[in-house]
Symmetry: C2
Subunit: 483 residues, 2 copies
């Protein structure tokens, strides 16, 4: 187009990766814990830019040009330990296993007070992830004042899911690249992969992706949490519940095991379910092009994040559930915070856009059902008889009736006819158009459908009438035959 | 059409009214009890034919040519009693009132044995109406051997709903003329009219209709029951339960009141509900052109007849409910009888035809929803700009973006964009077709819908592209604008 410029795709992709601007230096290897760091590396140096990144990517490419990355090598007795991301293994498998060992062996009995505290603390940590990490920071679906942000940053750490910065970055990549190799939790690779596998194994750097998180880097709370993540995590996840249960119920060990380790395990598993189950189990009322699904079971354990089909379609809506009977307490928390001014600018997609998605998806399902049914042969597939031919055919063949320019063979339907055999018999060999269309009885849609399955020919002199008749039923007449 | 004969409508209607053949003489005034006899007169003389009927209709017409029929006269203190069909009033209102009086006043206490018998006997009478009167005789949805037919004829009488012959005749008229003045229980005249009003008032002979019931007249059991209806009814409805409860529980009076009168009242009311509630309350999954509705409440009290939307669409299907979780014991009775050979030739509409109705009705609802939503202006309503015009407009107006040959004003969407403000801003004044369609991000249906609402113009040089783009969304481009 003359001087109408196209959007420069490379430039736009650099923007989308957030690689255009000088990034604030936040380097902290362990802050990207659980981060499959080599896959989504958010910690590039100050003054870094896309060129720098490309250069680094290039270096890595070179490195693996003559040998395969570990993720591309088969598992052997010699290299199996290299496949594994041991940090994540420790945080999500080893530590929880120790917790469960002490719990199940009965070595640390569960006291009622500790149990109640653990559930309460689970809710604090969980809601900080859903309302804070996810809907606030990853999706900017609303804005929040600093006290609320600080609260989410502190208690979000207690869930041991990495820093806000790392989490938000991975999550944005997940939304942008859903169901592709660049999707960190690519659901197409199976339930186990999307649940924990992606995190326990070292990923292939070939599929590295980046997202713009400038807004996160500009938030001092996010920066603070990322820098001091290890400390904050250790304290809020394990130390604080230990001290609290010790002080309140004189149950230090119980606090550590139940309100600490087991609670972390539960929150982690619930969150992992959003990447696995919520892409696997449930309905797709808004779009079935990709894997996300609505599912009240996952919603139940994740404070409402289970309406994942809605969420992927309308990611910046502060709600995940829109029906009153759906369980989305996170939405309620955000809404209540807005009443006291802690949150504001709550974003919603228009009801119009939501309804449109529902309508389109239902249409898709309906179209699919429709193709499975027998709607009778299209007019263009039928032979064309002139009237004489019809009369000749009637000689040899009983059961022919013309209705609206189409010849039908009703011989198999005589005893089935709800209006009786007599009437149908009296119409054989004749034109029953008027009788069928109200002269005797105004037949239902169902009758029209049954009729269409009995078509055998079009009457030449009645072809236009036949086309109009079929069109009223929604049939499109392709002009092929009409010449 | 040359020598292709049309069905003679008058002749066909005579056939449909069953007035062509010599009718067996069955005259019994009280056999058509509850029959609004003057409306649906099935008792014409032997050797009668349509001419005879037409003559009688003519006579009646003459009779009311200079004076109005009572149903057309206003109610006054002098004529109110003439409006009322006293026989029906006695059978459905007066007798039940007496029963309730004795029951509610405590004069006749309800014994457990009698209560159990009443419920059991209710089921006998009710099932005889639904499986016998309705699905067997009125609809011929299956065939039955004489022992079963006799059983239905005997216990059907106990429900005090008239003879099979009269009942079947009215019912066929109801199906053929649903929601018209000829429909005896015309639902358009309100809940009360279709419930009992039609039967308690004298109907207008102007709207008399007839149906072919030759098959009923040919059944000796139907003839026998019609002839001896009064006796059979009195015995089965009142005498038998009185004797039974007297003999079994020494509760003659309780048997008469509860297993007799109250039971009859309950069955009558349940049946009336099919004419009233089942045309008023519930869903219309198969067709909403007429009033019948699916409703599990009416199904519950009528042994499954409440799936009335299905039933009117597929009247000769021996089932009323097709889903496993729907309550249709009548269907089960008929099916079980077929296992022991008492019934046979059970008719079903094809699953194909049933699915088609569901699909078409859902399509109708969807189309209705669709018209309520904002899909953005159609291309033909937009001004056409050439590229220069677009660039000129961009000077004065921020927020214009071209995508697929269509100019959009996204100024109100910048902060809403889930992909971020930066990216969208970078596309202003440019052609973002590729970026929007996968170059940066492959946008969802939802995004396409939001986009369409922001249309402001079509780019002249991109008109074909715009048409293709819109067509992929299902928009039909009317060639109006294209000249
Ligand atoms: C040959 C194709 C025909 C088919 C497939 C057909 C099908 C049906 C169906 C499915 C019904 C049930 C009610 C409804 O769904 O509308 C029905 C009822 C009826 N049909 Fe037909 N019909 C045919 C021809 C005719 C003709 C030629 C006549 C008259 C001359 C006729 C007269 C009636 C009448 C009077 C009823 C009403 C029965 C009642 O509801 O009690 N039909 N027909
Ligand atoms: C002007 C009209 C535009 C509208 C109405 C729009 C709408 C949307 C919507 C609704 C989403 C959420 C995901 C989805 O539903 O697909 C989205 C995501 C996105 N958009 Fe746009 N968009 C527009 C233009 C653009 C342009 C021009 C670009 C790039 C240059 C872009 C880049 C993105 C990206 C990268 C995402 C992914 C965000 C994520 O999932 O994290 N959009 N857009
Ligand atoms: Fe997801
Ligand atoms: Fe998300
Ligand atoms: Fe009905
Ligand atoms: Fe019926």
């Amino acid at each position: 187009m003359s001087s109408m410029e196209e959007v420069d795709l490379k430039q736009a992709n650099i923007l989308a990766a957030g690689a255009n601007k000088k990034s604030v230096r936040i380097v902290n290897g362990l802050g990207s814990m659980m981060g499959s760091k080599s896959m989504v590396n958010v910690d590039f140096e100050k003054d870094s830019n896309m060129d720098y990144l490309l250069e680094r990517d290039q270096q890595e490419k070179m490195k693996y040009s003559n040998r395969k990355h570990i993720s591309e090598q088969p598992w052997t007795l010699n290299n199996w330990h290299k496949h594994i991301n041991w940090l994540n293994m420790i945080l999500t498998v080893v530590i929880p296993s120790i917790g469960w060992y002490f719990s199940l062996s009965g070595k640390v009995p569960l006291k009622l007070g500790t149990a109640v505290f653990a559930v309460f603390y689970y809710a604090l940590g969980g809601a900080s992830i859903t309302a804070g990490y996810h809907r606030l920071w990853a999706h900017r679906s609303y804005s929040a004042r600093w006290p609320l942000r600080l609260f989410f940053a502190i208690f979000g750490s207690a869930s041991v899911e990495g820093s806000i910065k790392w989490w938000g970055h991975s999550h944005r990549i997940h939304h942008r690249y859903t169901d592709t190799t660049r999707d960190p939790y690519d659901a197409r690779q199976g339930l186990w992969f999307s649940h924990m596998g992606w995190m326990l194994l070292k990923p292939n750097p070939k599929y590295r992706a980046r997202a713009d998180i400038e807004d996160l880097a500009n938030d001092w709370i996010v920066r603070f949490q990322h820098r001091h993540y290890i400390l904050m995590m250790a304290f809020t996840a394990f130390v604080l519940p230990t001290l609290a249960c010790g002080y309140l119920f004189n149950d230090y060990l119980g606090g550590f095991i139940y309100a600490g380790i087991i609670k972390v395990f539960c929150i982690q598993q619930a969150t992992f379910c959003i990447n696995s189950l919520a892409h696997y189990l449930g309905d797709q009322p808004f779009d079935d092009k990709r894997t996300p699904r609505d599912n009240w079971i996952t919603a139940l354990v994740t404070f409402g994040e289970g309406y994942h089909n809605f969420h992927h379609e309308f990611p910046t809506d502060y709600r995940n559930a829109i029906k009153w009977y759906q369980y989305d307490p996170t939405k309620m928390i955000i809404y209540c915070c807005s009443l006291v001014g802690l949150s504001y600018d709550l974003k919603k997609f228009s009801q119009n856009a939501i309804q449109q998605a529902l309508v389109q998806q239902q249409q898709k399902k309906l179209d699919k059902q429709r193709t499975k049914l027998n709607w009778g042969p299209p007019l263009t597939d039928l032979p064309v008889w002139d009237k004489q031919e019809y009369l000749n055919q009637c000689e040899g063949r009983k059961g022919l009736v013309v209705i609206s320019g189409i010849v039908h063979d009703v011989s198999g339907y005589l005893t089935e006819h709800p209006g009786g055999e007599t009437l149908l018999k009296a119409a054989l060999g004749k034109d029953a158009t008027k009788a069928f269309n109200g002269g005797v009885y105004r037949h239902s849609n169902a009758a029209h459908n049954v009729l269409a399955t009995m078509r055998v020919a079009v009457v030449k002199e009645g072809e236009q009438q036949a086309i109009r008749f079929a069109a009223r039923r929604g049939e499109v007449y392709s002009a092929k035959k009409a010449q």
